[in-house]
């Protein structure tokens, strides 16, 4: 009954990037189960332990902020605690998350090694310009050279996770322009000037 709308709900306002975990696998042993409390606010670490080391956490924070720096509309990813979400994601006990954990661990190891090779310091201690240069290296045109396959895949995955973590926060939703989730007395539909701008005035009446 819901599947009809689920595809729609998942598609609304979003693109082709899909972080869903396939649903038909058996329940994870240490997940939140099929009847969690969905009313209270949950924080990363509430249901399963976080697994990033301190050094990895520093690298993820630095990486997130290259991916989403602060600007005049919103703060940086780390200021909105996106690294906590990434740690929660890769630490989750469900099928699919384990592959992300492997990818992120390997990617972070590559990143630090490459940073030390190029600049003599870990990624988290590199300068802003050096971090940017390393991120550019991880974002080559497709297909990447074989030595960049892992870093490219890792970077795309962390970029997507950073976007999810960021744009689901109140500040991120505001930045994106989501203005719903408030009760209204009436649903007014699109503003008249928007309808006119798209030439849809004749479509409003049924």
């Amino acid at each position: 009954m819901l599947a009809a709308s689920a595809g729609v709900a998942l598609a609304r306002g979003m693109g082709q990037i899909d972080l869903r975990v396939p649903g038909s696998a058996p329940s994870a042993r240490d997940g939140y189960g099929t009847d969690p409390d969905i009313i209270r606010t949950h924080a990363p670490g509430d249901f399963w332990p976080l697994t990033l080391t301190r050094a990895e956490r520093r690298a993820v924070s630095a990486l997130c902020d290259v991916i989403i720096p602060a600007d005049d509309r919103s703060p940086s990813a780390s200021a909105l605690h996106v690294p906590d979400f990434i740690d929660e994601w890769i630490s989750a006990p469900y099928a699919g998350h384990g592959a992300d954990r492997t990818l992120v661990n390997a990617g972070l190891a590559w990143l630090d090694a490459e940073s030390r090779r190029r600049y003599g310091s870990a990624f988290a201690r590199a300068t802003d310009a050096q971090r940017l240069e390393l991120c550019e290296a991880m974002a080559p045109e497709a297909p990447p050279k074989s030595e960049l396959e892992l870093p490219s895949k890792f970077f795309r995955r962390v970029r997507n996770l950073t976007m999810v973590g960021f744009f689901t926060t109140p500040a991120g939703m505001k930045d994106l322009g989501y203005v719903g989730n408030v009760p209204l007395a009436r649903f007014e539909g699109p503003p008249a000037d928007l309808i006119a701008r798209l030439g849809l005035a004749d479509e409003v009446a049924w």
Partner: protein
Amino acid sequence: MAFVTPSSALDKYDVIVVGSGAAGGQAAYTLTMAGARVLMLEAGRNYDPQAETPMFQTNDQAPLRGAGTPDKPFGFYDATVGGGWSVPGEPYTNASDESERQFQWWRSRMLGGRTNHWARHSLRNGPYDFKPRSRDGLGFDWPISYEDVAPYYDKVEMLIGVYGNNNGLENTPDSPEGCLLPPPKARIGELLAKQRGRSLGIPVIPIHRAVLSAPLDHERIPAKLHPGNLKAQRILAGDMRNRAACFWATSCGRGCAIRANYQSTTVHIPPAMATGNLDVLVDAMVREVTVDSSGKATGVTYIDKVRKQEHHASARVIVLAASACETARLLLNSKSNHFPNGLANSSGLVGKYIMDTVGAGWGGQIPLLENLPSYNEDGAGGLHVYAPWWLYKQQLAGKLGFARGYHVEFGTGKGMPGANAPYVSDAGGRTVFGAKMKEEARRYYGSHIWFSGRGEMIPNEDSYCEIDPKVVDTWGIPVLRFNWKWSDHETRQAAHMQRTFADWITAMGGTNAKQPDASGKKAISQGGYVIHEVGGTIMGSAPGSSVTNRWSQTWDVPNVFVADGAVFASNADKNPTLTIMALAWRAADRILEEMSRGNL
């Protein structure tokens, strides 16, 4: 009467209803409002939508930003309790290892069942849909016609509250004056799809959904639904006053704490409880229907899941409303000397002709919708418009290569951000990040449209469920084993869906990143995926070729009725829930008549 335990339940009831969803809720409502004493058995836990619905929670308050997991496949805030594609301790199996021959079975274990999370699409079957074999020679005709069911569609729409309007389109029935609530205005992307669909000949009209776009008329409706029954009128009027109209926030899949949409737990069960005639026993898994030496049903055996004890409940009439496949399972597991092949199975057809809805999707990015100023388009928490099937004449003339139609559901707009990252271009394969990514995310947000085709499947001999000879669930009850096969009618229909949607994207000014699947074999969703499974105890005009008669009463055991989708003899593209409720009401009316005549 209220929530009872095995020890506080009565020794005997007029009717036992197995299941508490759309069918069980409707049957219990109709029966108790007329004065029958009913025991409702629910295999899941009690559930209180007013206390348990996350109405304004944002995804950053959920683990994994609300993403689906094996524990909550439709996301953390989906209303489903205790289930999804798998229910712990209650497996099912598939006979084949090939995924295209497998069936996925969505279940919940909660009061109200799947009505708590469903899409609320409430479309009437049309006249063709009850007589498909007469029209194209395939499948089965129902023993009833649209005219038989129409009065019940009217009643259900008035009771639960359905928004929509009338368009006079072929096989897309209008509702009489006073049945529907006003449709909400279309969102901007929906208007664009409507305009551009016209060039393809596709009509876009308001969908019918069970959401209160305005308060129900509590002064008029109760007297129409319960003429001459002042107690029922008073209870229903009071209950309707306690249902708020939609406040245009929160996705309906979470349920609704203000009771603005239909759930069995917010619409059927509260007034039924208020009659004093309904007892509800939760955490009660029914194992079998019991019969006496004459072959008449006496009650049910059930397992109290909390105390892990088996009990028996007795009644004059048994109504099965456990969901199509669970009802078939229950009948097949009810073996006795009288019924060695399972109850009501002299035809050998219990479990046969399981149908789902054909599903295929396609999406695209629409440049015209980029960078639009934001407005609040949450709306009614689901679809406002859709496209009903529009090619009846071409299809009947044999021009399409598949025999049955589909409707189109589509989603657009700036929905609440969740666990799918906003779209960015990643042009040339280069991962966009930094200021450019932020700019692109803002630009493209809300510029996508996703089309979902929802089509009719023709019943076939290869799609059925049976008892697995080896596997039992944690309660020791033999489980279902599924067999599945789409015919060419369905795969060609899925191909037509994707081709049409790709053309629609083009008509909206978008470009298709890839080509649609011409065979339909990749496009078509897995059996069960759309969660519209019906059939398994189909109704018909003769005992040898069907399991129930035109009243949803089993041929073999006159005091056993099937109220859920198992009786469907075909599965029109229209979402089944409204028809399930209409038939459940009709079956309950028949039970009341037959009880008053002394026949039950």
